[in-house]
């Protein structure tokens, strides 16, 4: 009862954490991705681009590029519009304008494994092989499986002018060009000098330094295992060394139509002789745009 009263008071004052339940405006833009797909990096890139006079760090990133899940409804209400908000939600029809960041799920699995160890979401003895099985089943995240997440967004919005699909891998190899695309989509003025500065200020090295300094000032790293860094490899293709061959095969067999659609090269040969994903077994598969 006391808890209910406390919540009712917080609710009335607008101090309850917004979570999934906050007012969304038609002019909002969302930076959406499955977790561990480079969302924090892009938040840094955009914050550095939009606020060249601020020193962007973990201590102020929740304010500069807000994450509704950890902020109060009052804070979100009082933000100047149009707002740019971070999100890990699977398809939400209320999000009109979306930058959708996608990453090779084989790298996402490795990244999420280390992150979940850091956060103590999994016990230290859980192996990466065990983790991958649960990852494929969508049991490691409250946002659904990687497949469900990417499929829900691309099925509903691919080709829509208010939907920008960005690959983490392209952002790594073509940081300035891809950031320019995002800036253009958002209507943020960005000359080459400003883009270069934003990319530099958001480099993995700089973010690692900031993480060390501000580890207790950010919801993402507070109360986590400090010996495991949040900013880890910041690379693509790490799965080739990290994942067991059968784990790679499990991911590819489960999700290859979407991997193909996104241009992620498969390693498993002759996939059609293996057990097919459920949607193929139904006989009349949907095909990807």
């Amino acid at each position: 009862m006391l808890g209910q009263i406390k919540y009712a008071v917080k609710y009335v004052l607008g101090l309850d954490r917004a979570g999934r339940h906050y007012t969304i405006y038609p002019d909002d833009t969302f930076l959406v991705s499955y977790p561990k797909s480079g969302n924090t990096w892009v938040r840094f890139l955009l914050a550095n681009l939009m606020y060249p006079n601020e020193i962007v760090g973990f201590a102020n990133i929740n304010r500069l590029l807000p994450a509704p899940g950890v902020l109060s409804k009052r804070f979100l209400r009082n933000l100047p519009r149009p707002r740019i908000l971070k999100s890990h939600e699977p398809f939400d029809v209320r999000f009109r304008k979306v930058i959708y960041l996608v990453r090779d799920p084989r790298d996402v699995a490795v990244s999420e494994y280390h992150f979940d160890l850091k956060k103590r979401y999994i016990e230290p003895h859980v192996s990466l092989e065990q983790f991958v099985k649960r990852f494929i089943a969508g049991e490691t995240s409250s946002y659904g499986s990687w497949w469900e997440h990417v499929a829900s967004w691309t099925a509903a919005r691919h080709g829509n002018p208010a939907f920008l699909l960005v690959r983490y891998e392209d952002l790594l190899t073509e940081s300035i060009g891809e950031t320019a695309k995002i800036a253009d989509f958002l209507g943020i003025p960005a000359d080459p000098e400003r883009l270069r500065t934003a990319v530099e200020r958001s480099s993995a090295d700089r973010m690692r330094k900031l993480e060390k300094q501000q580890v207790d000032q950010w919801t993402g790293t507070k109360n986590t295992r400090k010996e495991i860094p949040f900013v880890r490899a910041a690379k693509s293709g790490g799965w080739k060394q990290a994942l067991a061959a059968h784990s790679v095969e499990e991911i590819e067999v489960a999700w290859y139509p979407l991997l193909n659609f996104l241009g992620y090269q498969l390693q498993t040969r002759e996939l059609d002789s293996k057990a097919m994903p459920a949607w193929v077994r139904t006989g009349q598969p949907l095909q990807w745009p």
């Binding site: 609710y11 969508g138 829900s152 459920a278 949907l286």
Partner: protein, 283 residues
């Protein structure tokens, strides 16, 4: 006021509904036979309490129409109504899909009933808004259907039913639900549920209980909620250019679902026309 409502559990949970691991969701785009299926499932699951407009929100609750305190008392596993697009939190889903050409006609008349549009309002205007997903808060028909099919088709926790099949052979389709939910209902119970959920009975109940459901409040009494309850009405109710527009936008998705196209205008013009055209072959 909202704080007091919350303290007493009178608020409608909406999207903040606490989902339980054994919950079953009855999902569809609006005007796709959801209410009829709610009656069918309620009559199947609770044979001692025939479904009416007065009790349906308690038997098969609706997060946007049923108070939280009622939700908390519903026997588990709960069967919950929803019109939402894909939601990974739903543990098991029965998804009802209906030919969008019939859906748009049904929604047009429903909007007349609830006074959102005037009599004689041009159907052309309505179809344009329907295609853009502006006639309800649950996305466009194509978005709603695509988010569910692309993520979940073939998953053993996902049962896809076509409204047209439900109309053609209600008992057979209900048998699929019985298997899916592992219910113990036999043919006699299925037949009883079908009988108790017939369009005639639902129409009579609607006349007797015009004030008993939130759907009817403030709506026009001269138009009934339970309308034709049939399939293919679009052939006479929808002008050919409007049919072509819908088929252009969602042709491949419609064909995937077995809805035969009447026009040949699906050459990749519409926003979603690309869905299904290009084959993704493994490399």
């Amino acid at each position: 006021m909202a704080g007091i409502e919350r303290g007493l559990g009178l608020q409608r949970p909406g999207r903040s509904l606490l989902i339980l691991p054994d919950d079953i969701f009855l999902v569809s785009f609006p005007k796709s036979g959801n209410t009829w299926t709610r009656f069918l499932l309620a009559n199947l699951r609770f044979p001692d309490e025939p479904a009416t407009w007065a009790n349906i929100d308690r038997l098969i609750p609706d997060p946007t129409g049923t108070a939280k305190r009622v939700f908390d008392r519903i026997p588990r596993p709960r069967i919950i109504k929803s019109h939402e697009c894909f939601d990974p939190r739903y543990p098991r889903v029965i998804y009802i899909v209906r030919d969008p050409r019939d859906v748009v006609v049904s929604q047009y008349h429903y909007h007349r009933k609830i006074r959102k549009i005037e009599d004689g309002s041009p159907i052309e205007k309505f179809v344009a808004r329907f295609l853009a997903g502006e006639t309800c808060p649950h996305g466009s028909w194509g978005q709603n259907v695509a988010t569910w099919l692309y993520t979940s088709e073939g998953d053993p926790r996902f049962l896809l039913l076509r409204y047209e099949d439900l109309i053609a052979n209600t008992a057979r389709e209900l048998g699929k639900v019985v298997d899916f939910l592992h219910l113990s209902a036999g043919p006699a119970q299925i037949a009883q549920a079908v009988e108790r959920s017939s369009a005639d009975r639902m129409r009579k109940l609607e006349q007797q209980q015009p004030d008993k459901h939130g759907l009817f409040k403030g709506s026009r009494r001269d138009l009934s909620f339970v309308r034709a309850a049939s399939s293919g009405g679009w052939r006479s109710g929808l002008p050919a250019p409007m049919v072509a527009k819908i088929e252009t936008a969602w042709g491949p998705l419609m064909q995937h679902l077995g809805y035969e196209l009447s026009s040949h205008s699906t050459s990749g013009v519409g926003e979603y026309a690309s869905l299904g055209v290009v084959t993704a072959a493994p490399r």
